[in-house]
Symmetry: C2
Subunit: 324 residues, 2 copies
Amino acid sequence: MGEFDLIARYFTRPTAKAVLGVGDDCALLQPAAGMQLAISSDMLVEGQHFFANVDPGALGHKALAVNLSDLAACGAKPLAFTLALALPRADEAWLAPFSRGLLALADAHGCELVGGDTTQGPLNICITVFGEVPQGQALLRSGAQEGDDLYVSGTLGDARLALETMRGTVVLPAALLEQAKSRLEQPTPRVALGQALRGVASAAIDVSDGLLGDLQHILRASGAGATIDASIAINLIAACAHTSWATGIISFEQQLEYVLAGGDDYELAFTAPVSARNAVLAASQQAQTPVTRIGSIEKEPGLRLVDTQGQALTRHFSSFDHFA
Amino acid sequence: MGEFDLIARYFTRPTAKAVLGVGDDCALLQPAAGMQLAISSDMLVEGQHFFANVDPGALGHKALAVNLSDLAACGAKPLAFTLALALPRADEAWLAPFSRGLLALADAHGCELVGGDTTQGPLNICITVFGEVPQGQALLRSGAQEGDDLYVSGTLGDARLALETMRGTVVLPAALLEQAKSRLEQPTPRVALGQALRGVASAAIDVSDGLLGDLQHILRASGAGATIDASIAINLIAACAHTSWATGIISFEQQLEYVLAGGDDYELAFTAPVSARNAVLAASQQAQTPVTRIGSIEKEPGLRLVDTQGQALTRHFSSFDHFA
């Protein structure tokens, strides 16, 4: 199978929203009047973002999901994406499930594959995604204000639990591992919540490298600090990690680490004024995505963790850095 | 140097055209009213698109040039691009010249770096570029009509000559190799010509995989055929390849092969009605880019090569395919 056959068979589909899709030198998009185009690009590499033995269908899902998560963090509605793919060889047994997983998530979000590139090389998946957001309404990292509440969607920690199990530092029963792995390998981008938070949240980011590390980006961009109540944040713990703690597989400390610095969760962390608490609740209900208020934004720079008595927790949680 | 330091040091610059650049979950672009956004994505992999010992500055140039060439083929004006980069390690001795080469070409075309991703992994450069084109005016592969003239910009063959020398199948004097290498490693995207051809050309493509192979894409998309006069096409030969033939380093057959199936030239091949000959000439002069008329579009499918007497040349020239 040659390069052009491969593109034709697995990655060429009719487009409805795009003016022009796969098969020319460029794709053509025309955002509606008054809309801005939100753009994000993520590259997934074997050994860094996934294991060599990952299910190709799950990988197809994840490659797009991490990009949709960036659109969600900006409050943008998915429109289209390009896929650039380096493959060791044109292997149909890999390509068929990969494209199925990818396109199933794309269809679920009305996000069209409009172009890209394929080449031979070490496995590498680079997706660039396009969404639209009404002019001036994009959620940015820089909008957090002193006094704002700090929220996180969904639950955290199961992706890290699966990762640690696959690394061999934790031993999980098979059924529990399968469940945790689905959080690691097939994350759910919070696309509906991001859009519902337009005009409500003051700042937002997606939690990909660990909650505390990602929150630092909001704080730095906003020139602010925050205090998080760890006794509330611990309630963000995802189901498998909670079960693992309750059955003595992981310690309380590990559980806290997974919540605060787990990584690969793809939930949204966001801030909103106290006056918007009802609006946040309404957005959460509209998007059918739970959110938890875990702290507040303060003038004093830095991120502080406190216990129920307001005492500072001094433990260090490190975030993920590809080159650290 | 961590991932975020690396991005800050080498790839974060203020933006003028984009609403929002590097540093948030998404970049934001707003095409002007009546404009469509042309999008292209290319992935460059060591061993496939460049040698391990390539000058990093030249590689930075080429990574963007091949994408700008796609915009040129659509007649789009460059606006912005994203860069996703997998690097074996955060090596400043590589990153500094790479970013200089990349951003120098970006500046020359007013094309802003608005976002991207960096990760550890086998060297891989994926750029997605955005350009704007007035609604309905993009040059497509599908517009060639029976009777149209067939043109190629600039010259062809030096990139292939350099490649063959580096592969060891041809032996060139050092000075000639240096000159030919600049065509291979620092191609000139025909951005001005592409824009000048809007409303003039009926179809266009950039010549990246070899002239005959790329022309086939126009013919298939347009449901047409073409005849090329090889005795005219041979005049497209680039300076170093011509010198190499004139001094007996390569044969006439090799010269013809380099012109017709060389690859990596990044010239434009395009079609235009006979009635537009003066307009093509004006576009060529406006863009200060020579063009040569080498044949014409016909109803009968297929691509035919003839000599000065109109006799068919039956030799086979194969195009480049990453998986063939």
